[in-house]
């Protein structure tokens, strides 16, 4: 078995008898006779130690980096140019988190009066606007209904 945790210290007695000492210094194996004194030689890990594994434990894969809630994220291929100012170009892939409902300033995928769109969500007081990041489009104020399908959490553009 291979684990990363050090769970026991191995202590060698002068007679080279291995005695196992638990975390509280309790001798686990009572059948081994107690020698006069102990000399701690070092810590032994169960299994082969893997320094790489230890160092890489606190890293993220690109998947984890881009996708916070893997059960709620969808891909969407962008076709329009209304968010070019935010760095989202036609042909880009965006990751849409359906678990989020959208805060002011988020880029959202929304259905406004029956039309689908991707815009900045702006809330001020009671009013809600959808603001494009392209001067050739105008901000949208929903007349009847605004449904937010999800929040854009990342954009992916692959060149090769």
């Amino acid at each position: 078995m291979r684990t990363n945790t050090v769970f026991l210290k191995v202590v060698y007695s002068p007679e080279d008898l291995a005695v196992l000492v638990g975390p509280g210094g309790v001798i686990r194996d009572a059948s081994i006779t107690m020698p006069q004194s102990y000399r701690v030689l070092g810590l032994v890990e169960a299994g082969f130690p893997s320094p790489a594994e230890e160092e890489l434990r606190d890293t993220l894969s690109l998947d984890e980096f881009l996708i916070q809630n893997p059960d709620a994220c969808f891909l969407l291929k962008v076709s329009g140019d209304s968010m070019t100012g935010a760095g989202i170009l036609p042909g880009d892939l965006v990751i849409v988190d359906r678990g989020q409902t959208g805060k002011s300033g988020d880029i959202v995928i929304a259905e406004v009066d029956g039309e689908w769109t991707m815009k900045y969500l702006k809330k001020s007081g009671d009013s809600v606007y959808l603001v494009p990041a392209n001067p050739s489009y105008k901000p949208v104020k929903p007349k009847h209904e605004l449904k937010i399908a999800g929040v854009v959490t990342a954009v992916v553009r692959k060149y090769k």
């Binding site: 996708i67 809630n69 893997p70 059960d71 709620a72 994220c73 969808f74 891909l75 969407l76 291929k77 962008v78 076709s79 329009g80 209304s82 892939l93 990751i95 849409v96 359906r98 678990g99 995928i109 259905e111 689908w116 769109t117 991707m118 399908a149 999800g150 692959k158 060149y159 090769k160």
Partner: protein
């Protein structure tokens, strides 16, 4: 007597059954939001309705109906080819969401699950109904799927609950209400009771689930076999079927059936389709380290009638090469000249674990070992380069003809899109939303 409670205690156990509403069609509506509220049907490649959205059901479209008939009753129906890759992604996510609530989740089928909620009220600071509602809400929010749930004392009762109110229903059946639900339920609607058992029970004067539940144990023991005694216990609120949390790692049988269009009367093509099903079934059997002792094959004609034959094997195997001769013999029994066939199928049955396999004195063990090595390599190559990279000559004709030609050959949208870096076989493991923005 009929007012008597089945159980005085409301929740000795709390088992939830979740059933997604029109699952395949709902997945399509989730990724194509413009299809919400419209009649959507999947199964274009099969020529029959695989799933119908509730809008389509309201118009009278039922599962299994021919698509040509659908066009008559519901001309504006949106008919789509099945996109199993996307449905599987949704299914896995649905189970993952359920596991946020309880570690005891049984993946019963692609769109159904059982969850043991017993004892979770404290950690969620609320009643079981609240937990059920929260699950339903999360799945709706994150996946855009509507599900129906039932919560009761046993699996059989929970299943009655999830069916009781659909779509998007939550039905709680605590111990003191069980009899109210069973009273109006015909006994044949109970999970696990087939038409034969129902007919027998009817003869004994039992027509409702409640009458069956109220029967005394002596009668049940005397006249019914163990599975029905278990159902009887479950109906009485005594949970005997545990929620099985382990993911499926064994099968009792493996079946592979494929429809092809246009239908064919060509012997070599029909046999090739059958051979391919055998190959696929064997691939799956080998993946689970199983071997078959019986093989059932069937052919279905253009007019939907079919015939089948069961073949017994002298030794368990999962290697098609050893089975082709037998397959051909069985095929010859079934195949009729000048008849159009639309589907073939293979069922591997009597599966046993490979490691427990015993050879007889007359088996050529060196040959078997060689075969094992060959197939091990074939499976490795398939893993790396895709299924059927190496295939048997018997199924070769299937490569010369597309599985479905004409309109039925339409492929799901997701398969038509190849993103940079994706290849025909491997795609990103995320469902795609299809909206134009």
């Amino acid at each position: 007597m009929d007012n008597q409670f089945i159980s005085l205690s409301s929740w000795p156990r709390a088992i939830l059954h979740l059933d997604a509403d029109a699952f395949f069609a709902s997945c399509e509506q989730a990724i194509h939001p413009e299809l919400r509220g419209r009649p959507v049907i999947t199964g274009k490649e099969r020529g029959i309705v695989a799933a119908a959205s509730y809008e389509a059901k309201a118009r009278g479209v039922q599962r299994g109906v021919r698509l040509s008939d659908v066009k008559k009753i519901c001309p504006d129906a949106v008919i789509l080819p099945s996109d199993y890759e996307t449905y599987s992604l949704f299914s896995v996510r649905m189970f993952e969401i359920l596991r946020r609530f309880s570690p005891d989740v049984e993946e019963y089928s692609i769109d159904e699950a059982f969850v043991d909620l017993t004892g979770l009220r404290r950690s969620f600071h609320g009643p079981y109904e609240m937990i059920a509602a929260k699950m339903q809400e999360t799945i709706q929010q994150e996946l855009g799927l509507s599900v129906s749930v039932g919560v009761s004392l046993s699996k059989v009762l929970a299943k009655i609950g999830s069916k009781h109110s659909k779509p998007h229903g939550i039905t709680m059946i605590p111990g003191r209400d069980v009899h109210l639900f069973l009273e109006r339920l015909p006994v044949e609607k109970v999970w696990g009771i087939g038409p034969n058992t129902a007919a027998f029970l009817n003869k004994c004067g039992i027509t409702t689930a409640l009458q069956f539940a109220r029967k005394d144990g002596a009668f049940v023991k005397k006249y019914l076999s163990k599975p029905y005694q278990e159902v009887w216990n479950e109906l009485n609120g005594r949970s005997v079927y545990p929620v099985k949390t382990e993911t499926k790692n064994g099968y009792q049988s493996i079946s592979k059936a494929k429809t092809f269009t246009p239908a064919s009367a060509d012997e070599s093509i029909v046999f090739a389709q059958l051979a391919k099903n055998l190959e696929n079934a064997c691939i799956k059997a080998r993946r689970y380290r199983l071997a078959a002792t019986r093989v059932i094959i069937f052919l279905r004609k253009q007019d939907f009638t079919g015939s089948g034959v069961e073949l017994k094997l002298s030794r368990p195997t999962a290697y098609p090469v050893e089975l082709f001769e037998l397959l051909r013999r069985g095929f010859r029994q079934l195949y009729q000249l000048k008849t159009l066939y639309r589907q073939t199928g293979v069922v591997l049955a009597g599966l046993i674990e490979e490691k427990g396999m015993q050879y007889s004195l007359f088996d050529d063990t060196t040959k078997i070992e060689k075969m094992a090595k060959i197939y091990e390599s074939v499976d490795l190559i398939s893993q790396k380069y895709g299924k059927h990279t190496i295939q048997h000559a018997a199924s070769l004709p299937t490569k010369l003809q597309a599985q479905h030609e004409g309109a039925r050959g339409d492929i799901p949208v997701r398969r038509a899109i190849l993103l940079k870096g994706e290849n025909k076989r491997q795609r990103l493991k995320l469902p795609m939303l299809h909206v134009k923005v």
